[in-house]
Symmetry: C2
Subunit: 86 residues, 2 copies
């Protein structure tokens, strides 16, 4: 496969990743709504630790667990912001 | 659905996202190898603009295009780093 072939593969993966990120964002927003009605805290460090632990356990690379912590730390922070944006 | 149900959904989505991110990282590393043998530049702003344009075009929310630019800006930077890490 040449660069153009790999890029086609990346573009297809990105469409799937985009769809899943939006599904995840939708779920996070639904949790945000429930938390709002129950006056629960938006930031829950224990839940975030569980998310990281699940990712690290299932990760077989080539991304390292450190990479995933970086990516998801950023992702979770954006989705947490989304919970308060409505 | 209560918070626990939505979290189960998020956990399942994260397993899929993890798999796709690693597939994407693998493809980026293959491109990195080809670039190394052809002495091509690792950083290509035009290609990154294309990636953002594709994402924005396909995005129907709830993440905004600005969110996606943030998420992918970070993601691409980690994957670019991966291309030079071997």
């Amino acid at each position: 496969m040449d660069i153009a072939d790999w890029r086609k593969k990346i573009d297809a993966l990105d469409q799937e990743i985009l769809r899943l990120l939006n599904e995840r964002a939708h779920a996070a927003m639904e949790i945000g709504k429930i938390k709002e009605t129950t006056h629960a805290a938006v930031y829950e460090p224990d839940r975030e630790r569980t998310i990281f632990a699940n990712l690290h356990k299932a990760n077989h690379g080539p991304l390292t667990n450190h990479d995933l912590t970086q990516i998801y730390g950023h992702l979770i922070s954006i989705m947490r912001d989304l919970q308060t944006r409505r």
